[in-house]
Amino acid sequence: MFNPAAHDAVQTGLAIAAPQDVSAMPDGAAKVAVTAELLSTWLGFADVQRRTLDVVQGELTRTSEHVETSTLDLSERFRELAQKALEQSERVAQIVAMAGSVDLDGERVPLDTLVVGMQDVITDMVTNIVTLSRHAMSMVYLLDDVQKDVAELEKSIGDIDGINRQTNFLALNATIEASRAGEAGRTFAVVAQEVRHLSRSTGELAERMRSKVTAVVKGVRNGHDILRQIANTDMSPQMLAKERVDKTMDSLVAQTTHFQAVLETAASVSSDMSSTIAHVITGMQFQDLTKQRIEAINDSLAIMSAGLGELETQIRAQVPAGIGTREPQEWLNQLMGRFTLSEMRERFVRRLLLEGTALDENGVLDLDAAGGGSAGGDIELF
């Protein structure tokens, strides 16, 4: 596009910088013919290029600042995250420490010790039930025997009554026979009388014994009944409850062990997270390097821009006033096609349209086009 060929210089009829003495000039300052069209095209390009370079520098600075702000913000958030992950792992570690034991009267008792203790208590209980059942059955058998003996006793008292009746009858007969014998039987009659007294006493004794034995029988029967009720209360379901309690306890211990394992994993994951985040924060230092690179690029762009501006001024000084700048429309269109972000595009357009105008002097260009919708930044100029 910047072809220095000068084949249509004659057409324009315009001479550019025509010093009188060519030979007096240094080697590089030799005159060449350039068409006015090419010159105005170059001037147009130079103008747009310089402004574009300004815009690009601005955009680079803006991008660098944006990355810096965002990176600092991200680093801060990641630091918070790392701190939280650390706190989380400490909390989980506390739970892990507590999970395996329970608080009993202000003392931490390991769960497995507690379970063994409770199982021992229940084992003792079952043993007591067995011992109690055995004693109850021994008592039942004992009272069975006592009842038989007492019945025997009742029968014996009945036998005494029978014997007594017979004795009494014999004494009566003896008295009759003695009176029949007259004087000779007098002594015998006394004996017979004594026997009758004896028999009456025996009868009374038997009666007293019967009444006592009846009371004993009644007591033994009541006791026997109560004991039967006790022995007949089946405690085997309570004994078998031990199976269920044992299973429950085992399950409780297994579950606690599982929880502990899971929590330990969680604690170590939190700790890993914290160290990973620390690495991420270190990784964020790429921003510093990026900033330095962008600054270097910007510096070189500034040099290029200054050089271009200087050259433009020199050429402008030598070009006749009639030659204007031609706007490189096609090139501008291509450039605009690259600016897909509307705020960036807007900044570029402002720079092209307003630089050097009265509005520029009033500080319009310093306004941040990206400042938000209320600032009019949403207006699509192209």
């Binding site: 079952v126 059942s133 021994s138 022995a231 007949n232 089946d234 078998l240 199976e243």
Partner: protein, 101 residues
Amino acid sequence: MDYGIEVRDQEAVIRLRGRLTFNDHAKLRILIGEMGQNKLKRQVLDLSSLEFVDSAGIGMLLIAREEMDRAAKQFVLRGATGQVKRVLTVAQIAKIVPIED
């Protein structure tokens, strides 16, 4: 509960059938007497046909063991299943009376 005694060469096997509860206490006393009277040293209580035992039944088995001890005879429980086996296990009867499968 009812039972049958089978006298073999080395041992007397008493097979209990049905449910052993407090109501059988008189019957069991007779059985203990019979076990004491036969000449064999080894008295085996076959529980494989016993379906249920209550706590009084466990007490009676222990009394039977005491009586066999007194008569210098060996007393063995054999073949318990189901509820009977569970109760014997929970009560740790094996610590006092030999239990065979």
